[in-house]
C-alpha cells in the first residue's frame, strides 16, 4: 500500500488559486466520501488551510491514484485541470511521508515554526476520522506526524523566539521587567502595528493600559476597544511616570518625548526602568532617551533587527528538526512495509509450522512402541490441519480487491500472533494537546 500526497501551498500557488480550491470546513463529508469512492483510492484525508490545500491518500496504484486526486481537485471545484496542474505537487512513498511530517512540524510553513498548522492538521484528521475516510494506514500515519511535530517542538527551539515585531516587543519587555502582570502600558497615538503590540501585551496580562491621542475622542474610542483608560494628550507628561511600557506611533513631525524630560519622569517613578517602543516614522521619541539610565528605547528598526536574528536562529533549529523528521521517516516505513501481504503470510505460516514441528517432536519422542510409519502419518496429519486452518485467512489476504481492510487484517494478524514486526510498537495514540 502506498501513501500519496497531492496538493498546493503558498510556495506553489498564489492566494487567487488557493482560494479557488479550498475546502470549507463545514462541508467535509461530501468531498471525503467522494474521494474514498474513487477507484484505487482506499483512504483519504483533506487538509485545507489558508496557506495550503492537500489530499493525503493511500492507493495500490501510485500513478493512477495521483492522477485521480488531481482530477478530483479540479473537478470538485470546477477549476480547469490544465491551469491547476502547474501549481500542484505530488509525492509518494518516502517523499510523501517527509512532506507531511515537515508540514505538521511547521517546517514548510510561511513562517517556519508557527504553531497553528499542527492544530489545523489535527482538525482535518478529525473530519476524516469522523466520516471514516481514513483507515489504519492514514490513522497511523497522521498520529506519527503529530508525534514527530511534538518531538520537533520539544527538542528544538524552532518556535521559541519571537518572529513578529509585536511579539519581539513583548519578549524584550519580559527581559526588562520579568513579570508583566503589575506593569502599565501607555499607548500614544494609533496605528496598526502599535495596536497589535498593545493587544499582545494585553494577552500576556499587563495590569493596565492607558491610551492617549491628540484628539481625545479617538483616545476614548480606542480605550473602549482595549478596555483601557483614555488620557488627555496635553497631560502626557503627568501620566508618563505611571507607565512602564510606552508604545508610541503618532503622526507628529517632531519628537514628542525628549531626553530632557526624562530625568523628572524617572525621579517621579523612583528610577524604575521604562521601556519605550517607538513605531512612528518620523520618530516620536528622541533617540537620546536610550542613553538615559534605566530607559530602554527600541525603534521599529531595532525590533525588525530582533525579528531577523530570530528568523536566522529558527533556520538553525529547522536543520535540527529536519534531522528528527528523517529519523522518524525510517521508523514509519518499517511499520508500513510490515503491512505487505506476502511476507506476512510467510511469517504466519512459518510461525504455525514451528509450533507444529515442536509439538510433534515432543509427542513422538515420548511415545514408546510407536508403530512403524506412524511418525510420517502424524506429520502429514498435523500438516493437513494446519493448512486447513490457514486456508481461508490466506486466500482472503491474497485477494487484492478489498482495499484498506487488508491492511487492517495484516496489522491484526501481526499483533494476534506476535509475528515479528520490524519495530517495537510504540503507542502513538496521543491526539491530545
Amino acid at each position: 500500500m502506498n501513501i500519496i500526497v497531492v496538493g498546493l501551498s503558498h510556495k506553489t500557488a498564489g492566494v487567487e488559486v488557493r482560494e479557488k480550491v479550498a475546502f470549507s470546513p463545514t462541508q467535509m463529508e461530501k468531498p471525503l466520501n467522494a474521494l474514498v469512492a474513487l477507484p484505487d483510492i482506499t483512504e483519504a484525508v483533506i487538509v485545507s488551510t489558508c496557506n495550503r490545500v492537500e489530499i493525503y491518500a493511500t492507493t495500490r496504484d501510485v500513478a493512477g491514484g495521483m492522477a485521480r486526486l488531481k482530477r478530483f481537485l479540479a473537478d470538485y471545484h470546477n477549476f480547469p485541470l490544465e491551469t491547476l496542474e502547474k501549481h500542484l505537487y505530488s509525492y509518494h512513498g518516502e517523499e510523501a511521508t517527509r512532506h507531511v511530517f515537515r508540514v505538521a512540524s511547521s517546517l514548510d510553513s510561511m513562517v517556519v515554526g508557527e504553531p497553528q498548522i499542527l492544530g489545523q492538521i489535527k482538525t482535518s484528521y478529525g473530519y476524516a476520522a469522523e466520516f471514516k475516510s481514513s483507515g489504519i494506514i492514514l490513522n497511523r500515519f497522521l498520529h506519527k506526524a503529530f508525534s514527530v511535530a511534538k518531538r520537533v517542538r520539544t527538542e528544538t527551539k524552532i518556535a521559541s523566539s519571537a518572529v513578529s515585531v509585536a511579539f519581539a516587543a513583548v519578549e524584550l519587555a519580559k527581559k526588562i521587567f520579568g513579570e508583566l502582570s503589575d506593569k502599565t502600558v501607555l499607548l500614544i497615538g494609533a496605528g496598526e502595528m502599535c495596536e497589535l503590540a498593545a493587544k499582545h501585551f494585553i494577552n500576556v496580562g499587563v495590569r493596565g493600559v492607558m491610551v492617549t491621542n491628540r484628539t481625545y475622542e479617538r483616545a476614548e474610542k480606542l480605550a473602549e476597544e482595549f478596555d483601557a483608560k483614555p488620557v488627555h494628550f496635553e497631560a502626557l507628561m503627568d501620566h508618563l511616570p505611571k507607565a512602564d511600557i510606552i508604545l508610541s506611533s503618532t503622526g507628529a513631525p517632531h519628537f514628542i518625548i525628549h531626553e530632557k524630560d526624562m530625568e523628572d519622569v524617572l525621579r517621579r517613578r523612583k528610577l524604575k526602568p521604562m521601556f519605550f517602543i517607538d513605531i512612528a516614522v518620523p520618530r516620536d521619541i528622541d533617540p537620546k532617551v536610550n542613553d538615559v539610565e534605566n530607559c530602554y528605547l527600541y525603534t521599529v528598526d531595532d525590533l525588525n533587527g530582533v525579528v531577523a536574528t530570530n528568523l536566522e536562529q529558527r533556520k538553525v533549529e529547522a536543520a535540527k528538526a529536519e534531522a528528527i523528521v528523517e529519523q522518524e521517516i525510517g521508523q514509519f516505513f518499517k511499520w508500513l512495509s510490515s503491512l505487505d501481504v506476502t511476507p506476512t503470510i510467510v511469517a504466519l505460516r512459518s510461525h504455525f509450522d514451528e509450533i507444529r514441528k515442536a509439538e510433534l517432536a515432543k509427542t513422538l519422542s515420548n511415545w514408546k512402541d510407536l508403530p512403524p510409519g506412524a511418525d510420517k502419518k502424524m506429520d502429514a496429519l498435523t500438516n493437513a490441519i494446519m493448512n486447513k486452518l490457514l486456508h481461508h485467512p490466506t486466500s482472503l489476504l491474497k485477494r487484492t480487491d478489498q482495499g484498506s481492510r487488508n491492511d487492517l487484517y495484516v496489522d491484526a494478524l501481526r499483533h494476534l500472533f506476535d509475528l515479528e514486526t520490524p519495530e517495537q510498537q510504540e503507542n502513538m495514540m496521543e491526539l491530545e494537546d
Binding site: 527581559k175 526588562i176 528610577l271 524604575k272 526602568p273 527600541y298
Partner: protein, 271 residues
C-alpha cells in the same frame, strides 16, 4: 583528612566553575543542572571540611586568613544554592562559582596548619562575631556578582546585542531584586558583626572602639551600604546606579577584609 577535604572542595569547585563557564558560552541547557548538582556536592564536602576543622581545632575555625577565606567561600556557595533553589536561574552559577573558586584558591595560598589559638580570640564572641561578619560579606559578594550581571544585561539591552547570553540572563527586575534582597540580608549581619565586635572589644581590650583600621574600614563599608539602602528606600536608587554602588561597596568590603589584614598593622591583623 583536613587537607584531603580542602583539596577535594577546591577541585570540585574548579570543575563546577568550568561547567558553568561552558554553560555560559554553549547553548546547552543541561549543563546548568550538572553544575548545580556538582556545586551541591562541593558544598557538602566543604561543610565536611569546616566541621572537621572545628573538631580538630576545638574552636570556630575562622581565626586566620586560610580559615576565614574558606568560610567566606562556603557562605557564598551556600547563599548561591539557596538563591538557585528559589529563582532557578542557572546562569547565577556562572558568576558565583568562579568567585567562590577564586576565594578558595586564595585561601589555599595561606598556611593550612592549625595554629594555637591567639589568646585574644579565646571567647564565645568569636563564633558570633566572625560567622555574622562572613555571612554578611558573602551576601555582599552575591550582590556584587548579580550587579555585574545586571550591568551586562543592561548593556545588552541598550546596545541591542541580543545573543544567547542575553537569553540566558534573567530580566533586569529579577537581578535588581536579588541584589537588593542580598543587601537587606547582609546589612543587618554587618551591623550586628560590628556591634558584637565592639562588645567583644570591651571585654578583650577594655574599650568598645579604638579606631583600629579594621574598625574604621568596617564603618566605612557600613556607611556605603547604608547609603545604598537608604537611597533605594527614599529616592529609589535602583538599576545601574544601585548595581555600580553595590560593586563599589564590595570592593571596599574586600579591602576591609583582606587589605586591612595584609597591609595595615592593627589589632585585627590575623594572617
Amino acid at each position: 583528612m583536613n587537607a584531603l577535604l580542602f583539596n577535594s572542595t577546591l577541585v570540585i569547585y574548579a570543575v563546577v566553575t568550568a561547567v558553568y563557564l561552558i554553560y555560559l558560552l554553549k547553548p546547552k541547557e543541561s549543563l546548568g543542572k550538572t553544575g548545580l548538582w556538582l556545586a551541591l556536592a562541593g558544598f557538602l564536602v566543604h561543610c565536611g571540611f569546616t566541621l572537621n576543622r572545628f573538631l580538630e581545632a576545638g574552636h570556630t575555625p575562622i581565626t586566620n586568613l586560610h580559615e576565614s577565606l574558606s568560610f567566606f567561600s562556603l557562605s557564598v556557595v551556600g547563599i548561591f544554592l539557596l538563591l538557585e533553589r528559589r529563582y532557578k536561574i542557572s546562569i547565577l552559577g556562572s558568576f558565583m562559582m568562579p568567585l567562590a573558586l577564586l576565594i578558595m584558591a586564595i585561601s589555599a595560598s595561606f598556611s593550612t596548619v592549625i595554629p594555637p589559638l591567639n589568646p585574644a580570640l579565646k571567647s564565645r564572641w568569636l563564633a558570633v562575631h566572625t560567622i555574622m561578619a562572613f555571612l554578611g560579606y558573602a551576601a555582599f559578594a552575591i550582590s556584587f556578582g548579580v550587579s555585574i550581571m545586571y550591568l551586562i544585561q543592561s548593556h545588552f539591552l541598550k546596545t541591542r546585542k541580543l545573543g544567547s547570553m542575553f537569553q540566558k540572563l534573567p530580566s533586569l527586575d529579577i537581578l535588581d531584586d536579588i541584589s537588593y534582597r542580598c543587601l537587606t540580608f547582609g546589612f543587618p549581619l554587618l551591623t550586628f558583626a560590628i556591634i558584637s565586635g565592639a562588645i567583644w572589644a570591651e571585654t578583650a581590650w577594655g574599650t568598645y572602639w579604638s579606631w583600629d583600621p579594621k574598625e574604621t574600614w568596617s564603618l566605612i563599608t557600613w556607611f556605603i551600604y547604608a547609603a545604598l539602602l537608604h537611597g533605594r528606600l527614599t529616592t529609589g536608587w535602583r538599576g545601574r546606579k544601585a548595581a555600580m554602588l553595590s560593586i563599589f561597596g564590595f570592593v571596599i568590603m574586600l579591602f576591609t577584609f583582606l587589605g586591612v589584614n595584609l597591609l595595615l598593622p592593627g589589632l585585627h591583623s590575623y594572617k
